[in-house]
Structure formats: C-alpha cells, structure tokens
Symmetry: C2
Subunit: 230 residues, 2 copies
DNA sequence: TCACGCTATATTGAATACAATATTTGGAGA
DNA sequence: TCTCCAAATATTGTATTCAATATAGCGTGA
C-alpha cells in the first residue's frame, strides 16, 4: 500500500476524528468505541487506540481506563473557563506579536486581513471561518514562542465544537472583521497594550455571541453535553 | 495475573519511564527503542508504545514518525521559550487576580507574603522555595480560572528541574521577596497592568538568575532532575 | 415484586504476528 | 580510497489474536 504522505494511519485518524468531532459528526458525550471507529475509518483498532489517547491528551475526548472513550463534554462553567483562558492566551500572543513580529510578518498579516474583507462582505461564513483560523494562527506564530502558540491553538481547537455556529449570528462577520482590523492596526503600530486589549475584546465578543446562540436554542438544559444531538 | 492497582501496564510504564528519565537512567538524547524498553520492563511493545506517546505529549520524549523515540533534550532556545511562556502565564494570572480576587483572598495573600519575610531574611533557601510555590499558587487560584491555573502550574513544574538552584544565587532571596511585594501591592490595589508588569518582571529576573548559573555547565547531561530535595 | 448474584456478552488491554519503512553494511566502480 | 547503490538488517507501524475486565441480561430466592 502506498502512503500519500508520510503521516501514519494514527496521525490521520487524529485529524479525521477531530474533524468529525469538531464538525459535529460526533457530539459531546457520544461513546467512541474502538471497533466502530476502526470499522468507520477502515483501519484496525491499534491506530484507533493511539489516536484516542492523543485526542485525550488534547482534551477532546475522555478515556476512562477499561471503560472506553467518549467525546469530552463540558459543563457551562467549565466552558466559560476555557473561553476565558483562550481569550487570555490569544491576547497574550497578540501583545507579543505587537512587540516582536518581523516586518515581513507584519506585512503578511496586514495583507491577509485585507484579503478577508470580501468574505465578510459576502457573508461567506465557511470561508471566513477558515480564514479566521489562519489569521489567528499567524498571530500565534508572531508571538515567537512555540509553547504559547501550542497552548493557544490547542485551546482553540478544543473549543471549536462549541463555536460551530459562531459566524451564523447576523452581522457577526463584518463585526469580526472590524475587530480583526483593530487587532491588526495595534500590532502594526507595535502598540502592545492596545493589541492585548483589542484581542481580548474580540475573543470575548465572539464568546458572547456564542452565549446568545446557546441561550437561544439551549433553553432547557444546555446542549453542551447531551448525548442526543440537537 | 493480579493487578495491585487498577492502573494499566501503560499507566505504570509512564511513571517508570519518567522516573528513569528524571533520575538519569536515561539521558537526554538517548534512543528509546520499543523492544529494549519492552524487555527492560517485562511487557510487550504495545503498552510501551502507548507510554512513549504519552510521555511525548508531556514533553519528556520526542517521537519522530517511523524513526523512534528519544529522551527529549531541551535546547537552550526551547528552555528560554518555556520560561517565556511561564512568565506570560504567571503575569496573566496576576492580572486576573488583581481584577477578581475576593477580599479574603487578598487578605490571605498579603498575610502570606508578610510571613515569608523571615525566610528571606534568614537565607532559608529551602523554606523560601516551598513558600514561593504557595505564593504563586495563591495567585493562580486568584485568577479564578482553573484552566489557566493548570497551564501555569504545569509549566512551573516542568521547569522545576531547571530551577533547582535558583535561590542559591547570593542575594536572590531578599530580592525575590521585594519583587513579591511589588506584585502583592499591585494586586491589593486592584491595579491590573501593574500586577501584570510586576509579575512579568519578577519571573524574568528569576530566569536571568538561572541563566547565569546555567552558563556554568554546558548542555552535556544537566542534572535536570536529580530527585534530591526541592 | 424486588434484590441479589450468576452467567453471557461486549469491550478494552496486552501480546504476538505481519508489513512497511529506515538504517546499516558490503561491494562495485571510478 | 572514496562514492554510490543495493541487499541485508533493524525498527517502527499495523493487523490480528488472546486475555482480562466491565456491562447487560437472566434467573432465583426471599
């Protein structure tokens, strides 16, 4: 068999299963039994087990010894904490980026931000979401600290399942783009406190918009961890 | 076969191999081939592989796909990154503590800081180190965000091996206590930016003092984790 | 009817077997 | 002697098999 890249089956499983969790194919609380997963992805249990452990270490799934794995479900309090932590990490990266980004990094960030304008204007939620990730990742990289970047992006992907509809809120796209603009401007101006503040505000607003949605259809118990999907 | 506890073989391997790395049975850079480890610990390759992946996720070993695992050797650059990340996390917690600590938390922090004065004055390095951990932990807790606290304390403990001699530098104790004083004052005054700055400065100074020591010995096997004393 | 315990089944943990890739070693040719 | 290539070897990745534990279902007795 020919591998298309040099990743191992387990590597790809980590991506695939995360994707399926993130895009909702598996909901929080769902059981992830090894045999079904192996079957679903056409591999044996061995790489599935490896992938599950790795996902566990990133917080996306819970594995209970001898009792299997489930998609991690989070209480509202815990979720708020995670959002808060992410906001702080993002703000920290933005501050460091403002201080230390190279001229080329600054130029690329500026260009990339500009390139997102059409997506926001056209209401292309999917395209904007993808570009949004790139935007934030550029700022992680600009902090020039691999560990902070890793922590921040880990938090972001862990929260992804709970942010699925974030850009569906009416008017959210242009507002997000504006907030990106404030962050970008502060970074380009090397204004560290402003970059920190702008990013903190941006991420907190996204969170708020999430909460509105959650309250909107959550009404009964929040859907954060109900095994039955919405 | 009877298990003495409900941990799995892989669980115990994680502890055993970490211990062997920390106490120097395996030195940074050493290859960890699965067969030898399996043989050494009397198990098969399967749990060994699982343990290696987990150790990798905690940063203790490096696994290169299809090329085996080695004991992670932290380069000076990586170490600096880790220190930088820790400083940022601590500063963030201090900022949040300044904003959100309850009156009781503030009072306890103030009292605890005062209680450290004699330790600093008497040059009790060991006592001061223990109290120092408590001081910082109080601030993590004061941030009222369990995740941030977890990240910060994880970084702190991961760096502990490299900071063992930090309070041996002449005059470091009283200076540390002074810096704690600045942090405490800012938190009590609910001055968030000042708390952030004071903590960043404090941790960075500790790092500097470490670097002075580190320049003493090269990157040959550092005493990265001699289990003796704190 | 309910509680309890036992058996049957399902699922995970570990060991072994097999496949694929990386590394080493030896030799051929310049 | 040195370089390069190829076969041999070693080591990791994956599949399969076996073992141990957890869960579910059933029956029995009070």
């Amino acid at each position: 068999m020919v591998l298309l890249d040099d990743r191992t089956r387990a590597d790809r499983l980590v991506s695939d299963v995360s994707a399926d969790i993130i895009n909702g194919a598996f909901a929080p609380g769902d059981r992830l039994d090894e045999l079904s997963l192996a079957d679903r992805y056409g591999v044996s249990r061995t790489p599935v087990r490896e992938a599950l452990r790795r996902l566990a270490s990133s917080g996306l799934v819970d594995v209970r010894p001898r009792r299997g794995a489930v998609v991690a479900s989070i209480t509202p309090a815990k979720l708020a904490e995670l959002f808060g932590a992410m906001a702080e990490m993002e703000a920290t990266c933005a501050r460091l980026a403002a201080i230390g980004m190279t001229p080329m990094e600054r130029r690329r960030l500026e260009e990339f931000h500009a390139s997102m304008r059409p997506l926001a204007a056209d209401g292309d939620a999917e395209g904007f979401a993808a570009a949004n990730l790139t935007f934030h990742t550029q700022i992680y990289a600009g902090a020039h600290n691999g560990h902070l970047a890793e922590i921040a992006s880990g938090l972001r992907s862990r929260l992804m399942p709970y942010r699925r509809a974030q850009f569906r809120t009416p008017g959210r796209l242009p507002r997000s783009h504006e907030e990106h603009g404030a962050v970008t401007a502060a970074i380009l101006a090397a204004d560290a406190p402003a970059a920190h503040a702008a990013m903190l505000r941006h991420v907190s607003l996204v969170e708020e918009s999430f909460e509105q949605l959650a309250n909107g259809y959550g009404d009964r118990k929040q859907d954060a961890g109900s095994p039955d999907r919405a």
